[in-house]
Symmetry: C2
Subunit: 200 residues, 2 copies
DNA sequence: AATAGATTCTGACTGCACTCAGTTATGAGT
DNA sequence: ACTCATAACTGAGTGCAGTCAGAATCTATT
């Protein structure tokens, strides 16, 4: 039952512990105050590490947000995939994938929007970032799968259509103009657009 | 021939002159070095005004970029509208509008991407910002007009379709992943997506 | 158990966007 | 001409993300 290699030295364990403390501290503070109102200093203090150390684990403040949110996003995708499977209509099925993501994104509006910003404009070389992009890719695959299931007659590439859906979703969630909208309003906004996209 | 009101006091003139100097200084420095490598201090110095004064004319560094780029963007739209009028195919006509915008946006990649970022995530209350959003709205109208001209049989809302086109355009230009792509590659990427969107 | 080499940690420091209390210019009223 | 109120300007100051030279800690080797 034991894993292949026990030789996990003190070094590795310390590193893991620190990372855990950072995630815990960041999670708590970000949820409580929102990214705008939390300083990296506060997070470092709460995680009980030096200022500089924090930046060994997350290259920028934005990466810190990815570190915390990626898991939630992945979970939302999981949920949506399951929901979509039980729904007959294409549009409704696609929106079943969309909704949990919007909900997840809107738990704290500032954090959600900043997360999206980081995704598009951040450095894809950073591991947390590429992880985020991979979840987007999975989202597109899930949507493409739903589209494929419904066999849109000679529809263009399902993958491309899925990509367009994520683009729509992205901008609806990210735009400052939509910052004050409720989850339902955002979903409705997305629905209108995806409805047109899929109408044929 | 004279305008209605001459009473343009020294105050107004001074203000206008300063704004002009700011635009000139910012234009030059941003074009030369890119927004990442220019400090607001440099711009203030070059415009020969105090540090604080700069922020009376542009609330943030990002606003400064909008201030400079909006005119170029508007010009690109103008160009595209003209081009589109002479083109028969829908897809090609829409892309005729897209191309000059992409070209304009890519004169300096960093500046272009930051401009887009500012548009989506900036404060829409600021005048330069709402001006930018208005140009986007005009872009969507132009695209909708092209779509209308071609009478897509029972196509969903032309305005909504236009909005989707701008979303596609936006993300293709903004994504860090696409930062290294050439203008032609970006346009091709957009074409693929818009092609699927309009296929029916 | 001693030494050396590598890795990880740290907080004082830097650079920069943005602020604000104090100053100066403008114009209206007398 | 001389107030006075208001608008516009200014640069020293503030806060914060991110850096880096040196300290501390770990592991391998003998």
């Amino acid at each position: 039952m034991s894993l292949a290699s026990q030789p996990v030295g003190r070094r590795e364990r310390n590193k893991q512990q620190k990372l855990d403390r950072i995630v815990a501290a960041a999670s708590e503070l970000l949820a409580e105050h929102g990214i705008e109102d939390v300083t990296t200093q506060q997070i470092a203090d709460k995680a009980d590490i030096g200022t500089g150390t924090l930046f060994l684990y997350a290259k920028t403040k934005g990466e810190l947000l990815l570190l915390v949110q990626n898991a939630h996003y992945a979970e939302a995708l999981q949920q949506g995939r399951a929901d979509a499977a039980t729904i007959p209509g294409v549009l409704d099925a696609v929106l079943a994938i969309v909704r949990p993501i919007v909900e997840c994104n809107r738990v704290q509006v500032d954090n959600g929007r900043t997360y999206l910003r980081e995704m598009v404009f951040g450095d894809p070389e950073e591991p947390r970032h590429s992880e985020a992009l991979s979840i987007v890719a999975q989202t597109e695959e899930a949507i493409a799968a739903v589209l494929g299931r419904h066999e849109l007659a000679g529809a263009g590439d399902a993958a491309t259509t899925a990509r367009i859906v994520t683009a729509i979703m992205f901008l609806s969630m990210a735009a400052t103009v939509n910052a004050a909208l409720s989850i339902d309003e955002i979903v409705r906004d997305i629905r209108t657009q995806v409805g047109v996209l899929l109408s044929r």
